[in-house]
């Protein structure tokens, strides 16, 4: 089983996010980058499949600040090869990133012919589209998202995939391979890797660097961001006053407005 995992670094929201002077984008100099949460699950799922049925796992990521630590940690967790893709500018949209990554997957020896391409189901900055279906389209592969279970057949020709529907209902699908999956949650939480192991890997293993061909294409995202703002957080709750009946009724109105009733 040949598994590719696509990892993406996204702005870390634990830090304050700052808007760039142009008022339309994030000030990327200011913040830090972190691995997108569901990509971590995609990586874990890939490792679980490898442990169960053998095979190789390759992790790919676009160059970004702090991506090296993530790739070394992936190696320390048991990934066989990690590839850093250089070329695209930091701040590329999801579809732009998908295009570059798909290009590399299609042209780089050792990356073509994967049975499974896994990535997180959704990232916090997927404004112009999601990674998994974008990749699927670029690679002409089938796609299934919001996957919480993945059990490939030993023939590597098909897999059972469980997709999460509302209210905890799971949908069990059969998917012909090769295919792209957007992983919502791995079967187990992403494993911890001791810092000593990562430090050892930094000394003994390396990250392969591959450049994506520069494209003259106009922006693939096709979006025009007019403005980016930070909604002001309220420091204190708005207190609803009155009798239990009155406050309950007022609360109902608020919930209804938000589509929660």
């Amino acid at each position: 089983m040949n598994i590719l995992v696509v990892l993406r670094m996204v702005p870390d929201v634990v830090e304050e996010l700052e808007i760039a002077p142009d008022g339309k984008s994030l000030d990327l100099e200011f913040g830090r980058m972190v691995l997108s949460e569901s990509d971590d699950h995609a990586l874990e799922q890939a490792l679980l499949i490898k442990e169960r049925s053998g095979g190789t796992v390759t992790a790919l990521a676009l160059e970004a600040r702090e991506v090296d630590e993530v790739l070394f940690a992936a190696l320390a967790k048991g990934v066989d090869r990690v590839v850093k893709i250089t070329g695209p500018k930091e701040g590329a949209t999801t579809r732009e990133a998908a295009h570059s990554i798909a290009q590399v997957i299609s042209s780089e020896p050792g990356l073509k012919g994967a049975d499974l391409v896994l990535t997180g189901t959704q990232a916090i900055n997927d404004l112009d589209g999601l990674m998994a279906p974008s990749l699927a389209q670029e690679l002409s592969l089938p796609f299934l998202g919001i996957v919480t279970g993945l059990v490939p057949d030993s023939s590597a020709r098909s897999t059972v995939a469980v997709k999460e529907f509302p209210r905890g209902v799971g949908g069990e699908f059969e998917v012909a391979l090769p295919a792209v999956f957007g992983i919502q949650a791995a079967e187990k939480p992403p494993r911890y890797v001791p810092v000593a192991k990562v430090r050892a890997v930094m000394k003994s293993q390396r990250i392969d660097s591959v450049s994506a061909a520069a494209t003259e294409e106009p922006s693939l995202s096709l979006l025009l961001v007019l403005e980016m703002t930070k909604p002001q957080p309220t420091a204190h709750a708005e207190i609803l006053e009155g009798s239990p009946e009155q406050t309950a009724s007022a609360l109902c109105g608020i919930l209804a407005e938000r589509g929660l009733l």
Binding site: V14, E15, E16, V34, K188, P189, R191, Y192, P194, V195, A196, K197, V198, R199, A200
Partner: protein
Amino acid sequence: MGGATLSVGRSSPEITLENLLQHPKGQELLTCIQCGLCAGTCPYGEVMAYPPRRIIAMLRAGMLESVLTSDSLLACVACYSCMAKCPRNIQLTEVLLPLVKEQVFLRLAELPAELHKALDNTLRYGNPMAESPRKRAAWIKTVDFPIRILAEDPRPVDVLWFVECQNSYHPRGQDVSRATAKLFHVLGIDFAILGNEEKCAGECARLLGEKGLFETLTDYIMVVFSKYRFNRIVTSGAHAYDAFKHPYTAAGFKYEVAHTTPFFADYLEQLKSRLTRKLPYAITYHDSCCLGRHNGFYEQPRWLLQAIPGVKLLEMPHNRISATCCGGGGGGMWLDTYYKTKGYERLSERRVKEAVSTGADVIAVSCPYEISRFEDALKVLGYEKKVMVRDVTELLSEAMEV
């Protein structure tokens, strides 16, 4: 898998679990008389499958692997009880246990979720709470006099105050920091903090067996210290104090270091004249493992408390060298749910019951973990309206009229 290493001075030959018995430090283990005092005094003795006595026996018998593949040692809260009571003075908590736990840690199939998060956060943000490093010094804005941050004003200073994570970010910890700052201020001490450059000192990671994380933090902090000129380091973190005093020496730490409680006790005469407000509290002091058993500071906090007018000091049956741990060390701070699933009693609840039995209305503490742990235990046991938890510095500050 590589063996565990203990650097006793980074230039000396590496000690591993394998060569431990051949190394002088390790040969002390051979003097163990298998008396079992360690197991008997361990707060989790009844659930600890491998107390130090048994680990040493297994080591001698070449059967250490069973110890290393068990998760039993996650119950060790690194309270130093075994080490303090050992009649042969074997360096159990300081040497043996971290070495063994390092190997256990590498073999654990799955880390309990809360602990996993705390370690990830500590590596990434320099604190276990996933708080932004940029907000570490935000609390100083709530103090009504300026507090110097060395990165902004690097002139030499008398005291570099190492604040610690809980004291920087947790609301109750910030209460302690405000009180501590007030004491420094009132005593006219020239002090400064590292602000956002400060990160976790890593002692709990080390005691848990996450040696790589400890070393990463040590390397970082030693570089930060080297940038500034100061006479001494004073910290309100009991575990941070322990780290600097002991394992950091291997990384070249040579600075004078003190914990705030014994530090302020040195200024007792000066403080006494300022403690003018009567606090009619019956206080029982909980000896912190790091300050007390490990470093011998039993009387200093008591002198400070007794200097407060109106205070009556009550002792718990387990006090000083016998004090029972709040359960926060060695990773215990993030293993409450894990212990609960195993059916272990929470040590903080056990200790709070003992405190309540003295009739005290205040539990005085000097380690940041103790405040949230005991306040939580009081709530769970239903005593939160009867008994409150206060740090020694908070009580001193409260006893000062402005």
